[in-house]
Structures are given as C-alpha cells and as structure tokens.
Amino acid sequence: MDLTLLVALPVILPLLFGAVSLVMLNNHNVQRWLGAIGTASILIAACALLWQCREQGILVLEVGSWPAPFGIVLVADLLAAIMVLLAAITGFATALYSLKTVRKRFERFGYYPLLHLLLAGVNGAFLTGDIFNLYVWFEVLLVASFALLIQGGERAQMEGAIKYVTLNLLSSALFLTAIGLLYGLVGSLNMADIAQRLTQVEDQGMVTVVAMLFLIAFSIKAAAFPLFFWLPASYHTPQVAVSAIFAGLLTKVGVYALYRVFTLIFNAEVEFTHNILLWMAVLTMLTGVLGAAAQFEVRRILSFHIISQIGYMMLGLALYTPLALIGGVFYIMHHIIVKANLFLVAGLIYRLRGSFELKRLGGLYKDHPGLAVLFLIPALSLAGVPPLSGFFAKFILIKAGVEVHAWWAVGIALLVGLLTLYSMIKIWNEAFWKAVPEPAPAIPAPGRNGLLYWITGSLAAMTIAIGIFAEPIYQLAQQAAAQLLNPQLYINAVLGADSL
C-alpha cells in the first residue's frame, strides 16, 4: 500500500464512518457498531502511522497531487503521529464508554456522527501542513464540540456553552486575523514555506506581532492563563463520555498548535516569545491548581486541573531546550490518557452514587474497592507520584528547568505538583474514604458496569505501562523533540531538499 495514504487515513476514516452513521440515523444499533468499529479502525491506522513515521521519517501527502506549497499537504512528523495515536486511543475508549452511557435521546440527535466529526477535526488539525487548513480543522472540531456540549439542553449546559462558544469564536477570529497578516507578509499558507520565507522578511517586528496573535489565539484554545475560564464553566456540564474526550483532546489541540508554530515558524526571537510563554505557563499552572482547591464537585476539580496541566506542557515549549521539549511531549502523552481516564472514573462514580458533589459522596472504598484502585492510579499519576507516568513527565520537565536555572518556574512546578496531590487526596477522602453522609442519598439502581471497568482499567494499565516502560517512551519523545528542534527536516520533507 502507498505509504502516504496512511497520513490521510486518520482524517478520512472518521469522516466516512461519521457520514455513514448519519445516513443510519434511525438505526441505533448500527450507529453504535459504527462508533466502535470506526474508532477501532482509526486506532489501527494511527498505530501504523506512528510505526511508519519512526521507520521512514516525516511522511508527506500532497492532497490531490497538487504540489506544495500550492496545494494542501498533510504532514505526519513524530509529534503529529503521536498526537493522532493518543486521539485514537481516547476516541476508542470514549466510543466504547458511550455504548453503555449515552442516552437514546442523544443518539437520535446524532451523538455518534458528531463524535466521528470531532475526531476527524482533531486528527485533521494534527496532520495538516497548511496554516489555513489548520484553521478549518479547528472550526470542524469546534462545531462538533459545540453540538456535543449542549446535547441535553440543561440550563448549566447553556451557560457553559455561551462562554465556550464566545471565547472560542474570539480565538478563531484572532487566529484568522493572524493568518491574514502572515499571508500578507510572506504570501504563502504552507507552514514549511512560511517558515522558510519568514527569515527573509525585513520587518521582523511585524513577525513578532503576528507571533503574539497566534500565541493569544492558541492559548485561548488551550485554556491557558489568562483566558481559560470558558473551560471550567463548560466541561462539567455535558455527558461524561463527552467531558472525557473534551478533557483528553480538545485543549491539547491548542497545545499542539503552539508547539507546531513556535518551533517551526516563530523560532527567530526565542528570547522574547518564549519568555512570554514561560510566564504564561507558570501562571497557568498556578491559577489552575488554585482554582481546583476551591471546588467541591469532582468534574469541576478535574477541569481546573486540566488548566494547571496545560501549564506544564507550555513550560516544556517555553524553556525550549531539547530536554524541555522531550518533557513537554512526554507530558502530553501521559496527560491525555490520565485525564480522559479520570473523567471516565468520575462517570463511574456518578453511575454508582448518582452525584458528582463531594458532599454527597462517601463510602466508595468500602463498597467498590476495585473502583478505588482505578481512581488512585490515574490520580496519583496526575500528581506525579513514582513510578507512574506523571512522575517521569514532571521529572524531565523539572530537570530541564534546573538545567537552564529557571528557578521560579521549577519551584512553582513543584508546588503545583504538591497542590495537585492535595486535590486528589481531597477527592479520595471525600468520595472514597469518609462514611456515607447522613441522610444517605438515594443510590441509583445497580447497572452492569463491567465494560466501563474494563475501559478505565485498560487506560490505567497504560498509565502504569508508560511509567514502567518510561525508557522507550522517553526515546520516542526524544526523537519527536529532535524533529521539532530541527525545523529544516520538516521543511525539506514538505518542499524537497533543494528548496530555497
């Protein structure tokens, strides 16, 4: 099979499966099967893509045979392939989880087609090599996420959705403006071509202005400080499966976009741009974790922790040393799996106790020790307890910080780790350890949760595996970071070695 086709598969498969399940709108069983089979096939394609990326280097597909930089290219370097694989894992887990948890009413309103569309948007954003096309994929995933977010139509959902939609549209407008200005500067939309031409632009001040616009646009989408508040306002409102895939993937598309443009395109004035990134990273970490401390609803606590974790990922990019980028990539790999898993566990808590409020929970350890273990693994990993995946992720980042004497950032990263542990212990104490509160809240009728346990169990096993096999994962992150630090590899892969 043609290798370059592999680059298109993660985008075209969800689109096709989504379209077919839209045709089968009235047949719920077929839709469910398509959901499971579709996401499984993406997972297989994503594994193959990562494998080939390691073997062959950066894979480029010129869509429709229009040569770069004129046509749209899909580019899979290691970072993109890793992100696609993580998206596929989250997508597959969510689709299986949805089989048991999504209500019939939502299925009729196109839950599964939207899920496929969301995955197509996410994968498209990871793989595209064209900055305008990146904008389009962002819109695709946002449209799908808007619809998924408000399924159910409750008051809290609408309130959250308004903030979510407004800020994301603002970010999209800034993004589009930035693309327009950039196109005015260099006359190209192909990212590799832009990177090459930017060095010849005389007005480097303007380049920095455009870079800042991109920074603001993407950091809104990544829920970084200061424009993060749309996230905790909305992520706890939809169904658990939707929360989980949002928590795992959506903000990380923003982080990925930051990694992409600030390593490939805007890498000239690192002193200035990455210093701002550093401050944003530190403040993001801090505000996220402090926000979580004030919350007493499981999903809201977890939502605030997404923000603080985004800070760590940005820290990796901001320090901009080889080790820091390795740490950032490692952190993304660890975080997506752990975060999605924590939301899925929260969903199980809800199914067993009918509430997300810590006040009304209790006694879960006594009644469901298995669930307690399934919560502890990702929770401790999130806080960075060895030997779980989070420990290595934080360790690499902090070591990278120490190497460049970024003491402030290192100190705050350590403090935030500690506060994360506090939050996780809070959930543990309240939901699992303390006795059932009086008067005992009504417990929903026991359903069959075997499949759900298997899903969260598998994700927890992955967390442990990333911790145990940290060495090969580290090497993978190292290769990805090496590609990021040498943008000429990307440019040559897209435009050919003899360009310029």
């Binding site: 086709l5 298109a8 689109l15 379209a19 839209l22 045709v23 089968m24």
Partner: protein, 146 residues
C-alpha cells in the same frame, strides 16, 4: 395547525406547484454547469433547498417532508459519503489521495460525456447543502408546528 400560521393562498400555492420542478431543474443545471463556469454544488444545493422551503411556505410542513421522503440529516450523510468517497478512486489507480480522476463516455447521440470525481464531490456538496439548510428550516417549522 393553528390558523395563525396558515399562510395558504391560492396564488402562492399554484405558483409553488409550477415553480418547484423548474427550481429543481435549475438547481441541477447549476450543479452540472459548475465545473467550468459559475455554479456548482453549493449554489445548486441552496436553490434546491429554497424550492423545498417554498413548498413548506405554500403548503405545510408535512407536504415538504413528503416530497423530501428522507430525514434531511440523512441527506447530509449521503452527501458526505459521496464527497468523502470521491477521494478514494485515485487510490485505486495508484495516484495521490484525492487526485481528480476523469472518465470520458462516448454516447451515440449526445457526443462525449465527461465524468469525474470532482463531479461526484460536487453532488455530495449539493446533497449536503440541501440537507443542512432543510434541517435548519424544518427544525424551526417543527417548533412552530407544535
């Protein structure tokens, strides 16, 4: 249906009956013309959707649903399948994903007929646009209906 929303008028009704086939034909004309000249799936789809919306105004929601026969979202689905499917023939002949493929058919009377994957893509867009617009229109009409 409450009298308040009954917009039935003989003129509109007769006009819509006459216009509907013409508008559909015109939309198909726009769709097929679109490759080399102004037109295409998007604008054609809008015209076709307008034709069915006209039916809705002239008669009622049920009449409009009847001539569409399927749920408009399913139309979007079929359109997306066609549009996405148009990317695949290129792979079969070993070219890059989404490369346009052209086939020429020699017909006895009409002369040669050019068929292509961009045409399939455009038909997909056509159906997708009809489906999307009508989903919106029907949802609003339904809300008024109940």
């Amino acid at each position: 249906m409450t009298p308040r929303f009954n917009m039935r008028s003989l003129i509109l009704n007769t006009g819509a009956t006459l216009l509907l086939p013409l508008l559909i034909l015109f939309s198909l004309f726009l769709l097929l013309r679109g490759h080399d000249e102004p037109g295409g799936g998007f604008i054609g789809g809008l015209v076709a959707a307008a034709a069915i919306a006209l039916k809705l105004f002239a008669e009622d929601y049920r009449a409009a649903r009847t001539i569409l026969r399927v749920h408009p979202l399913q139309l979007v689905g079929v359109g997306l399948v066609l549009a996405a499917g148009a990317s695949l023939p290129a792979i079969l002949v070993g070219e890059n994903f989404f490369t346009a493929q052209w086939w020429t058919l020699d017909l006895p009377i009409f002369g040669s007929l050019k068929l292509s994957t961009p045409l399939i893509f455009d038909i997909g867009v056509y159906l997708g646009v009809i489906g999307t617009v009508l989903t919106v229109v029907f949802t609003l009409a339904e809300a008024e209906h109940s």
